[in-house]
Amino acid sequence: MPAAAAIAVLVLGPLLAGAAALVAPRAGRWLGLGTAGASLWAAVALARHVLASGVIRHRVAGWGAPLGIELRADGLAAFMLLVVALVGTAVTVYAQHYFRPSACREKHHAPSAERWFWPLWLSAWTALNALFLGADVFNLYVTLELLGFAAAALVALAGGRAALAAALRYFLVGLAGSLLYLMGVALAYASTGTVDLSLLAQRFEAGPASLAALALMTVGLLAKGALLPLHFWLPPAHADAPTPVSAALSALVVKASFVILARLWLEAFAPVASPAAAQALGALGAAAVLWGGAQALRQARLKMVVAYSTVAQIGYLYLLFPLALQRPDNRGAWTGAMLFVAAHALAKTAMFFAAGNVLHGAGHDRLRDLDGLTHALPLSIAAFGLAGASLVGLPPSGGFVAKWLLLGAGLTQGQWWWVLLLAAGTLVGATYIMRVLTHAFTRFEEDPVPCPVSLLGEGTALGLALAAVLLGLGAGWPAELLQVGAPVAGPLLPGGIAP
């Protein structure tokens, strides 16, 4: 498949499928599965192109920057598209199980939710694909808005006041963030005459205009990316949404703004971004890791534990900035942070699926009443445990490899405080995971799970958890992919050892 065709399939496929799902709702599941298959195929094809021939720039409508819009498929884009395709397929498959009518209990979503899930979810998929391919900051604004609309409506699908309030809060914070970002775009255009990332990198000079633009865009993206202290909207939105939506939000949507931020700091605004500001971002990340973990320990509901775990894990991502900005040896930090994105996506999706299975089977997700789950839902608890292993960073999981690379970067650069954070965060993470598992391994008097959970639901959870754990073993190819076109230099591991 030629690269242009792969790009067209990735961006236009889900869009057409979503429009079709509006007109023909009964075909929704098939449209979803078809999109998943096509996206996987196209993402793999694109990744192979990028590995073979390097960064691909696609000039839409034939006009190049600055007049036109260029799409860019570099290693990071291809990598993220693969993650989206994988997690997206899992969400699509799980949704088949989730929306199946259950004789056992009234499902935890509005009766007509499935017919709207497919157009909304496919539109979100379009937005994600378009976002990771984007190389034009205004175009990224439009994709961010598309994603935000879809995500908010998906959260509201759960119905009921709590979900609606969470959705509206999420939506408003997202809108405010997008508009701050757009003002940054306006400043960038006003001072350089372009909105293309590479051209901005060439034309920006250090000065008040570029600094203000970076600040505005950063604050806007941090609000959308739920970094402390702008994280408050996330736990209710991710916990009260329907389960496949929670998974998609935590695994993919929240990472999108991080990836854009990484591109801005390390590429377009590289001469302007100051190391002190990068340390500040890292400090916020550290606070998120510790505070999110502490809050996860205090939650009474399983889905809230998982949601706060997302808040905590997102904090690790922001270690990229102090470890990679303006460093001659930042390859390890870059690869580690992006592998972390993938490992967290797989593990968190598995966790949410497991939590969703518990919720469906038991009718609630109150931890204190969930004794003895291991006997009732062994596969889901196994999935939760394995996913937890990846989140904590046990070998050979993807989480381990990612944290190892970040640790190496911290040591080589003498920023030992991040090493301490990684250790402390791992400890806190292990604690809240164990808290959930101890409930599951106790004895029970009566069956905590009156309703059966289908094999599909448990199987997807377990499959993804295994993928997260085994990612570390197969991390060579993705790591190599990530290097293509990356703004990095230096060896991957301390001492120059090749992976």
């Binding site: 007049l67 009234e106 935890h108 979503h109 509005a110 205004f138 439009v142 808005e145 609309f149 908010a152 409506a153 509201a156 759960a158 119905g159 009921g160 006041r161 709590a162 979900a163 609606l164 309030a165 969470a166 959705a167 509206l168 809060r169 939506f171 408003l172 914070v173 809108l175 405010a176 508009l179 701050l180 757009l182 003002m183 306006a186 400043l187 255009y189 006003a190 408050f232 909207w233 736990p235 209710p236 916990a239 009260d240 329907p242 205090r298 939650q299 009474a300 509901r301 889905k303 809230m304 919720l359 038991a362 009718g363 609630h364 997700d365 109150r366």
Partner: protein, 129 residues
């Protein structure tokens, strides 16, 4: 056409953005928050149009104009969706206020309805907010 000084418009745009941001963050009533978001949007569009007018020559820069057109449409759609969410929120009972910037419950989540874990259960019960 007489030359217009774009600078007051740039400052006005900044003022609208800042005022709108304050409104979203500080006002508890949802409809006011939505109006505040619209203010922010208008501020950004004003800055973009003033930017287009600053370029020398007879014809203003068309690219920011296209951006503003896109932005206006997105803004209208956002307002519509937000208002629909607000309407359903009101119908679910409990009024139209979202606490400040959404302080989460201090401490563990309040004890939920014993029969129902996910707040989507019918009954309009308020979950952890």
């Amino acid at each position: 056409m007489p030359e217009l000084d774009p600078r007051p418009y740039l400052v006005a745009g900044a003022a609208l953005l800042a005022l709108g941001l304050w409104g979203v963050a500080a006002l508890p009533h949802v409809v006011r928050k939505i109006l505040a978001v619209n203010l922010m949007g208008t501020g950004v569009f004003l800055v973009l149009v003033a930017t287009a007018a600053r370029t020398p020559g007879e014809v203003p820069d068309p690219v920011p104009h296209a951006m503003v057109l896109t932005g206006i449409v997105v803004s209208v759609c956002a307002t519509a969706l937000a208002l629909a969410l607000a309407q359903r929120l009101q119908e679910s009972g409990g009024g139209l206020e979202l606490d400040g910037r959404g302080k989460e419950a201090a401490g563990p989540a309040p004890a939920p309805d014993p029969e129902c874990g996910e707040p989507s259960c019918r009954g309009g019960r308020e979950g952890a907010s």
